[in-house]
Symmetry: C2
């Protein structure tokens, strides 16, 4: 039975991805909303999809990673103003995982930035309207820059067989791509950008479609190339990304957090020379130290359901912070996740109680992150 | 059977309203997402809910109308900078329906603005991150202003019996409220703002809860006060708002549109003296004239389902524009809606063809708006 879209939408306010028809045809059975667009999050069962990602290869419609495109004579200076990373170290053809910071150091978004030209950038966004932020900033910035949302829609091809799939599609040239590098190419005239990136800690690629009218074609070409490798469409795997210590903006951190609280300080280039928004605030926060930190936790007892609210974590009787993500890792056979905790309660070995729905109280322990595959768990580029 | 939230969410990224538990208890059976928050859109049947609104009284959880709060010594000047309306004509205790405009005249959002003090404003938002826009604008505006999302969550009480319900709750003082005026009050210590506003063209009020911890209590107090009048929780009624000619940001207009295209030119105070963002662009657009306009249409034939994509409207063989909203009006016994059309095809009487899903092509005619109740159809304040 096809999914009843009336359960998540009413009217034509929400946008559909160029792959929407394909996701329907392939049996997507749940959609959430992200950047004002419908986002297929499950085709079968989350654990089943996780194992398929870990052992084989999966295809995700992540068109909801909408782009902000920055062009114009001052595009470099403007992009460099938006982030604490030093973009002079990002070559054309290279990407970076970045944070977009507010003047108080709060994290507005954590996109993958691609540099397509000296003065041509894309930000592949998490779920907030960075286009509005950037246009507000540009008003009085005195820089010659154009900002828009282009017709660009990414897919992810993730899993150990991802290399074979993209090589079948694009030839061996993609196999030479280093992590966070990309190439601009085409598939039977369908214009795409192929990046060596992903949200898994597994081998993976993203294929950014540059012509929304050809979504169905591209989807089926990828499915055909992946068939010998057992490719399956799935939602993004929260199980795998939590194992890898990857964070989800909106759940694990928001505009209320800064990089030092959430372990993303590597996204600040301390020696960056150019100005950027949030510089003074971040320096002050770094110097003063933070009062809370996002920590890894293990929750004891039977398999938990993936949290859909932020569960309270207690030290003794006192609520000390929210559990932001928590789920069962089938590989570790443990419940793992993150909690935002006061520094005093954030060091490894600290014992907490976590209150699940229905009054189920579990013992939990702070542990180091990531939970799986330290050598490739966190995007470094 | 309770609604399976896994169909619309995965993890704790999406926020819940202070009335979430109440909406679950009262049988909400569909949720969309709006301003990063779950939004109950249907409890029974859309047509059934429409008739209940028209004849009795309904309660809606519209907490998703998140507020941007503007305070600080220059709050008036800043708020006035964001909109073409002249806020010197908005008294403390008064609200205005406004557009927030970008530098190119595009509509970023169409909130209800409330003036709570000389330098204290709320913007009750449609679905876009105006907080990010406002913070970007504030960066270099040289104004002393604070911007945040406060703990404020509106409900709507709409329908001909709404007056009785709010009088039971707050006493006769609310009955004196003029359209778009409000009062700050409390109900058993629950702090609220009560406004004479709504999204229906019916008599209605909004009750803005100012303490999220007391959502359940407030909800049940309103339900109890409404019981003698047959109050029912429902989603917002698109049928009623389309009949009234009310537009939905994201569906009927977006950042790509300006007020002159969508019939909201009354939200520009031509004689406003203070500066505002978009002033030059709007003047140019007004002087040059627009090339397209949102027009009312009637679609012939059998009852249609509410459109969930923008249907193509054709003049002859040429697609001339999208149908943005279209649905069956049970009162008019007609299919009505809006289409964005080139000026040449936008005058009343123009005949079009509209392509519904499944190849169902219908004749349609451009007609004047609103469809019902001209005297109270469009918010004027």
């Amino acid at each position: 039975m096809p999914f009843d879209m009336n359960l998540v939408q009413r009217g034509a306010r929400l946008r559909r991805s160029p792959f929407f028809a394909a996701t329907q045809r392939h049996g997507a059975r749940a959609y959430t909303v992200y950047n004002h667009m419908l986002f297929p999050i499950c085709f079968a069962d989350l654990e089943d999809e996780y194992w398929h990602l870990v052992h084989h290869v999966t295809l995700w419609d992540v068109s909801v990673e909408r782009q902000v495109e920055i062009t114009g004579p001052d595009a470099f200076r403007f992009a460099d103003l938006l982030t604490p990373r030093d973009l002079s170290r990002c070559a054309v053809g290279q990407g970076k995982y970045v944070v977009i910071t507010a003047e108080d150091g709060g994290i507005i978004n954590d996109p993958v930035l691609l540099r397509l030209g000296e003065n041509h950038f894309w930000l592949a966004l998490a779920d907030s309207d960075v286009l509005l932020w950037a246009r507000g900033v540009a008003l009085n910035a005195g820089l010659r820059v154009e900002l828009r949302e282009p017709d660009v829609s990414p897919l992810q091809v993730q899993g150990p067989k991802a290399k074979e799939v993209v090589a079948t599609l694009f030839g061996d040239k993609v196999l030479g791509l280093r992590y966070y590098h990309f190439l601009e190419t085409a598939l039977d005239g369908i214009p795409v950008v192929v990046t060596r990136t992903g949200w898994t800690g597994e081998v993976g690629y993203e294929i950014y479609l540059r012509d929304g009218s050809r979504g169905d074609e591209l989807w089926e070409r990828i499915m055909a190339a992946g068939r010998p490798h057992g490719i399956r469409p799935t939602g993004p795997s929260d199980i795998r990304r939590v194992e890898a210590g990857i964070l989800n903006w909106g759940a694990d951190f928001t505009l209320e957090n800064n990089v030092y609280e959430v372990g993303l300080e590597r996204l600040v280039d301390e020696d960056k020379r150019g100005p950027y928004i949030g510089r003074e605030a971040l320096r002050r926060i770094r110097d003063e130290g933070v009062s809370r930190k996002l920590a890894g936790i293990e929750i004891e007892g039977a398999r938990i359901e993936f949290n859909s609210t932020k569960w309270p974590a207690r030290a003794g009787n006192q609520v000390v912070g929210p559990v932001t993500s928590a789920l069962w890792s089938p590989r570790l056979k443990k419940n793992v996740g993150y909690a935002m905790l006061p520094i005093a309660h954030s060091s490894a070995g600290t014992v907490l109680n976590v209150e699940l729905p229905g009054g189920d109280v579990r013992r939990a322990t702070v542990v180091p992150m990531p939970f799986v595959d330290p050598q490739k768990a966190i995007p470094k580029s």
